[in-house]
């Protein structure tokens, strides 16, 4: 059964509404009859994106596929990643990749989960932000076993800890590596 974009947006809005969304930033949460479709305020031309934007984007939004390459963008709290993964697993999605992004100027790290559906064009992106000095969030490998390797790679490159992961040892770096190369303050 292939879900529709609106059904998914609604389920994510309900997920987001159950607990606080992002650390240190209260966000407006649209639930119930108000559709969770909103457009992010445009970033001014030439704006330096390393400064935190003044108006945070809505947590669940449908985006323009022809520009971004995905349909649904959900920002959730780190504690909710397993529930989000379960929603997508029940709807038949597959894990595309897990990306880490080091927002050093905002003192945060972002983990982005991309999902694709084997039977439809739908593309869902789930993102979450962590504190940079202690980046930790639960693993989704019980739901998607493929996340095992993606999380090991993200840990290799950024030092993000996935609690509950069965084997968080280096995957692409040497076994005794203790450096995290894709951090913005990494020097060889």
């Amino acid at each position: 059964m292939i879900p529709t974009l609106e059904q998914l947006a609604e389920r994510f809005s309900r997920l987001v509404a159950t607990t606080a969304v992002l650390p240190q930033s209260p966000l407006p949460v649209t639930i119930g009859s108000t559709p969770a479709v909103a457009v992010a305020p445009p970033v001014a031309a030439g704006a330096d994106h390393t400064i935190a934007p003044t108006a945070p984007p809505p947590p669940v939004q449908t985006v323009d596929y022809s520009l971004k390459g995905y349909h649904l963008d959900a920002s959730i709290s780190p504690r909710q990643v397993v529930l989000a993964a379960e929603i997508l697993d029940q709807n038949g999605f597959a894990l595309d990749t897990i990306t880490g992004v080091d927002w050093i100027a905002q003192n945060e790290m972002e983990v982005v989960y991309d999902f694709f559906h084997p039977l439809s064009i739908l593309r869902v992106v789930v993102r979450t932000r962590l504190r940079r000095d202690q980046p930790e969030l639960p693993t989704i490998s019980p739901v998607f076993p493929g996340a095992n390797w993606h999380e090991r790679e993200t840990h290799d490159f950024f030092g993000i800890r996935f609690s509950g992961h069965p084997d968080l040892t280096p995957l692409l770096l040497p076994e005794d590596a203790d450096y995290h190369p894709l951090r913005k303050d990494f020097t060889a």
């Binding site: 970033v43 030439g46 704006a47 330096d48 994106h49 390393t50 022809s66 520009l67 971004k68 390459g69 995905y70 038949g92 597959a94 894990l95 595309d96 990749t97 990306t99 992004v101 080091d102 982005v112 991309d114 694709f116 084997p118 039977l119 439809s120 064009i121 593309r123 992106v125 998607f144 076993p145 493929g146 095992n148 390797w149 490159f157 280096p170 995957l171 692409l172 770096l173 040497p174 190369p181 894709l182």
Partner: protein
């Protein structure tokens, strides 16, 4: 004389030993190490350990301008380099709203499909060498040299192409290429039939591959495996049909799907894909429009801030590029989602309890390129 009671009964012993397959091994298809815990000839646990050819592509993405990163894309998966070119130019064109002329799109499709055929030929010949048949390598490399001649005249390289540019191509094709490609398609069809008669229908190959390495569609979904691995498990997922990009929606081609989920199904998918690629090339040559091959691109390319994705169907599966831009000439983050990474991640679960030659047959049927895993 040894009496039967003198021979110790080892059937209940659980002695295992660790056998390292690689990183240097003729069947490892590159520098992949698989730590196999063996019970005699049977694999109890096969743990792939990549990282021996990690070449820091994602870190280089943060140290190069958008255009300077293009040669890297050809080296991630060198056998289907044009698909990886396509994904990166696609994501930049999508984000910067750059228009690509139709002639460039058609030539991109023609060259990408030629690249797909040459990649599958290398897979086929290397796989058969693993299984013990050396001769098809000589035939396949001969066909491949014809493709490489065509592509070399147009792109300048034999292997690690860097032919696509933001907004089109760096070089137009000429009549020599068009007649050469038509001649290639004409002579390739009987060759594929010969391979089918001599190799695919060969009883030795069928006994080696049928029923070996079953991978179910649910296992593929859980691990994110795509490409012929998923299509050999019964799911018709091909990015060219499900998330159409470039001008693929204008062509009439089929997605070969086989439901059995074993190594033979994956093998048949790839052989059938070569025939479908020939169909696409013919249609694209017939419909090739005239015009420029390069669109308008700003002199200094900066993408608006935000993140963007683009997915293509590479020879091995779904390849997706995710870039995060902060409105500078240099990307903030480039993430390459490569098919071999996800395809290999299911190896540990799929190879439990297999006998060693079957485990190698399974490994070959996944069609891995190791720098694709390690990036």
């Amino acid at each position: 004389m040894i009496a039967p009671t003198d021979i110790p009964d080892r059937t209940n012993l659980q002695e295992t030993f660790v056998l390292n397959l690689g990183p240097q091994h003729p069947a490892a298809h590159g520098v992949l190490r698989i730590k196999m815990t063996m019970d005699g000839e049977y694999v109890t646990r096969a743990e792939p350990i990549p990282g021996y050819i990690h070449r820091m592509h994602e870190k280089m993405g943060e140290n190069r301008t958008w255009a300077q990163f293009l040669p890297n894309t050809g080296r991630v998966d060198y056998l289907s380099a044009l698909h990886y070119n396509h994904a990166f130019v696609g994501v930049v064109e999508r984000a910067a709203r750059i228009e690509v002329p139709p002639r460039a799109e058609f030539i991109r499709v023609i060259t990408s499909e030629l690249n797909r055929i040459s990649s599958h030929l290398v897979w086929w010949s290397a796989y058969l060498v693993d299984l013990g048949g050396f001769t098809p390598l000589l035939y396949a490399f001969d066909d491949r040299e014809k493709i490489l001649d065509l592509l070399e005249a147009v792109t300048g390289s034999r292997l690690t192409y860097c032919y696509f540019r933001f907004g089109g191509l760096c070089n137009d094709i000429d009549d020599v290429f068009i007649t050469g490609t038509r001649a290639f398609v004409t002579q390739m069809r009987p060759r594929l039939k010969m391979y089918r008669d001599l190799v695919t229908d060969n009883i030795i190959l069928r006994k080696r591959l049928e029923g070996i390495g079953p991978i179910s569609a649910e296992l593929c979904r859980k691990y994110g495996a795509t490409g012929p691995v998923l299509r050999g498990a019964g799911i018709a997922y091909d990015v060219r049909k499900v998330e159409p990009y470039s001008v693929y929606s204008q062509f009439d081609f089929q997605i070969p799907v086989f439901p059995e989920g074993d190594a033979m199904a994956r093998y048949r998918v790839r052989m059938a894909e070569m025939e479908q690629s020939l169909r696409i090339i013919e249609q694209a040559l017939d419909k090739l429009p005239a015009g420029p091959v390069m669109g308008k691109v700003p002199r200094v390319l900066k993408l608006p801030a935000g993140d963007y994705c683009y997915a293509v169907e590479a020879a091995r599966g779904r390849h997706m590029v995710r870039v995060v831009s902060d409105n500078k000439e240099i990307p903030y983050r480039v993430k390459l989602r490569t098919p071999s990474f996800s395809n290999l991640s299911l190896y540990q679960e799929a190879s439990k309890g297999m006998i060693l030659p079957d485990a190698l047959a399974l490994l070959g049927s996944l069609d891995l390129v190791i720098p694709d895993i390690d990036r």
